[in-house]
């Protein structure tokens, strides 16, 4: 039997360890949940530059 560790963000928040972002994250073997923290959606959008469709 294998177990998969899952971490969930609270409503309206996003989990991250600085590289991985998600609301639910199924962690790979060897990745620690202790490295993850919550950020707001606004911070998330800013961090990965998701302001919306750019003008070209």
């Amino acid at each position: 039997m294998k177990l998969r560790r899952i971490i969930y963000a609270d409503e309206g928040k996003i989990l991250t360890n600085g590289e991985i972002y998600g609301r639910h994250i199924y962690l790979a073997e060897g990745v620690s949940e202790a490295d993850f923290y919550e950020i707001t959606e606004e911070e998330y959008n800013k961090k990965i530059q998701r302001e919306g469709k750019p003008d070209v």
Binding site: K2, Y21, G22, I25, Y26, A28, E29, K53
Partner: protein, 251 residues
Amino acid sequence: MSELNADTVAIVTEKLRRASENSTQLFNAGFEAGRVHADDLFWYSMQAGGERTNYDYVFRDTRWDKPFVPKYSFGNVIKATYTFALTKVGDNLYTDKLDFSKCNSMVSTFFSSDVIKLKKIDMRSCTADFNGAASTFAWCESLKEISEFYPPINTDFSNTFRGCSELETLNICSEITVNGMDLSDCKKLSRASIESIMNNLSINTSGLTIRLSKDAVNKAYERTEGANDGEMSESWIDWLNITGHWNIALV
């Protein structure tokens, strides 16, 4: 001068009618031959007799109301930056002639076009030197299907599918070996597509991440009968067990 009788008039009229039909047919045949010749000349010039390799910006902002039928394959293309960006092409690009298998740069190749379906997209030659898979399909808000997709192996493709909100079918045909594939905007991704992704996550990597839409995964795998909200089916759990060396982030 004697008058023409009715029979003679009828015969002459019929002969004139047939001559007119023939000339219309002749005209139409000539017109079509001219059109084909003009098409051939256009593509011969545009594609340098099939030897052109740089298609940067070539069709940007253009409109194709009919099927896109280049004379030569795109098999030699090496650069395809913004090639079809902002085009109005609909489903007219669904052709084997679009061959990007040698292409180093597909930066924004289809950026914000209204393309609906693509047949085969091979990004395995895209290189990190050109950030070659950046925004390839970004904001293709009409894109529904890529029948065969070969993911990049040499470069990041975290924003390749940014804004592809209508994408339903993405059939992965080769291994995913690179970190950060992001399909979190693809809320309509089918279960079959999700499974082709999971099935092609390389087993020779460790600790890499893919991002999927939480809505798409829930729709594909969430139990509905008598289950708690968010509880997933056994087939999803099976996929999680098989892909334990990958982080799977749902957004």
